[in-house]
Symmetry: C2
Subunit: 441 residues, 2 copies
Amino acid sequence: MAHAAQNESNSYERTHFTSELQKLQTGTEVRVAGWIEDFRDIGKLGFIILRDVTGLVQAVLVGENLQKAKSIPRQSNILLKGVLQGTKSKNFPFEIKVEEVFVFSPASLSLPVDPTGRVESNLDTRLDSRALDLRNPKISNIFIIRSNVLKLIRDFFLENKFIEVNTPKIIGSASEGGSNLFSFDYFKRKGFLAQSPQLYKEQLVLALDRVYEIAPFFRAENSHTLRHLNEFLSVDLEAAYLDYYEIMSIVEELIKKILMHLRDSNNIESENSLIRGNALNDLISNPFPKISYEKCLDELNRLGEKVTFGDDLSDSSLKKLGEKYDKFYFIVDWPLSLKPFYIHEKESHPTLSKSFDLQFGYLELVSGGTRQHDVSKLKSRLVEQGLSPESFRDHLRVFEWGMPPHSGCGLGFDRLMMVLLGLSNIREAVLYPRDTSRISP
Amino acid sequence: MAHAAQNESNSYERTHFTSELQKLQTGTEVRVAGWIEDFRDIGKLGFIILRDVTGLVQAVLVGENLQKAKSIPRQSNILLKGVLQGTKSKNFPFEIKVEEVFVFSPASLSLPVDPTGRVESNLDTRLDSRALDLRNPKISNIFIIRSNVLKLIRDFFLENKFIEVNTPKIIGSASEGGSNLFSFDYFKRKGFLAQSPQLYKEQLVLALDRVYEIAPFFRAENSHTLRHLNEFLSVDLEAAYLDYYEIMSIVEELIKKILMHLRDSNNIESENSLIRGNALNDLISNPFPKISYEKCLDELNRLGEKVTFGDDLSDSSLKKLGEKYDKFYFIVDWPLSLKPFYIHEKESHPTLSKSFDLQFGYLELVSGGTRQHDVSKLKSRLVEQGLSPESFRDHLRVFEWGMPPHSGCGLGFDRLMMVLLGLSNIREAVLYPRDTSRISP
């Protein structure tokens, strides 16, 4: 530990994580701390298998320490002081000869879920006891990977000259349509929880050129599915002077960097066979297909779906597309009428828009496009969509201050993790998911 | 630009940021984009000073391009295509001989604030037009530094084996007292906006050992000061097996890393003379003083303040302390009665607690401590503070699953930026601040 107590002595000072022991020599004195995964008593000797966040270690006990260990419930939190020695065990390259056992916290004898994962529990029970559920390394690994992928994304943005921004989560008007916003009393006014940083990130390219944000956003939608949550982590970017094809290149490069990271990390075992082994290498080395909305319609009608221009793609249609394009692919050039007011029309085909979604099979992961930066066109589009330019006054005036052309996108991070790790429910990728029926713990 | 359009040609393809031009040779063809900071017409020649997020460049125009330039309002967003050449200007090492001027967005002739900073506006006017205010490089620089400091903090945590977590911002009970929480309807139940990740980060050390989060939190306090906001960015950490002295070491090391970064970044001009020049070097090389609460009382009473044991330190007291200790210092070992239920008592003096605040002058920046991990003591402390253990049921049960001893702290990031950059109002450090009277833009 780098930080020794300078004042009162810290009785629980651990010297090493279990994963750090293999670098040490036999005979080294160590203090490791963690949870009793298992205890075996074979008479004169006893063995504790101790788990910490980095792995497992075996410890051997005799005499008084063995007697003490017999009375400690499994999954209790303890510190073992001892010396590294060789072992006859087939499962461990070395063991700790215990000199002292210190119990920090005894565990209850009846635990709501089995943290070793031997006894399976259903997801609801696990989420009710999430902290204990995370003791299972298969589960904690999801969140260690999540943390690493977030770092990778931020580094990628900084390399590409994006500035990290923090936009407000409390907003004063239910601007983007607004039916899906949580609302509350904000000092005698009405406040809303932001659903996305869309308007703010567009405003910020006025001066900061390229911005990104990774932050929680909120959607009051009353539906319960395996791929939606009411609070979610969104990765948003916006960039001046780039168009939607350039944003797609950025997104594709980013996703491939993440895939390479997954491939090169030994501790990753994606259960998603689509992004494992050779399939993973193929994904990394080939461009993601780009399919126009109109081509999607042709294919879907050939497959018996009745879809006409201007229809949104239903779950059923997306499932059919997802069978053919079962990995990452872009759907580009959506009808303008299906897209929000801030999306730019295609000059060559004004009923189409400069827009894209990145899909994985039937799941939408990213939505983006070139933005309209001509304020008079923005106003017409608002009116077309039944929205009032007056309620967007604060936003529209920014476009009269020399707004550069710009493009951007938003990526649903929890859903991306779900896809990357082959999880069948988005709740598996979130520590404390929020849905219509779950608001605690 | 790394990402060329693959489909329709992108008419606004910039080749370089202005700061990248100095690496190029005379004669290179470039396309730069930005805002017209200034235009001078001297007859047969004209000069545009173009600003982008990285700096300024001078461009010289003749003939048709000069005629066109005369009609473009200042602060309009344009692209200049041209060739690098030498210059007679004293202010620029080279200039762009313009071949083509492309106007993306004309700026309005009457701007609400002057983005060159020559005409000053009051803060409210600036915040009402924040996007334009940010065109002033003195202002945008605050947020570029903010972005860099966030990266530094995250890298520091990862080096120290902290896992990034995302805890929920929507919570189901107004647990920590709760009078300061925004509340709203959440699918026929009551939901609240989290004020801190305190309970969640403690729960997560049960399995993840060391966690950190940088996220927005919310406080419904109806007060209007220069140092509080109702939405703020908090840096939170929690670590198993560390005590509060070790957390103070981590905090001090982190703050010093940030100070070194400020010192070594050429573009930083802190207006805070306390952390500039020699004062900055002194701060980096000397330990932050640690003063006990009881010693603070002695000093304050000597200075004429009437404070007795158990009193919180009033604004007036903190201002007096801040005159003597005018930079970073810790106040340690606060009375247990002043601290939340989750703070650990000092075994040697049970009326005191294992707690600390990091101050800068009279401003509190960080609050932290060793946590109570004994569930029966936690329950007594709740009752002592008039809170109901039953309403903390979800939280308390985690302590029966083998909870390690742990410590942590929370740092108010906006306030830290305020101190580091010598800003007199926290609103200067936040893009779109939220207070009792401001919820837009």
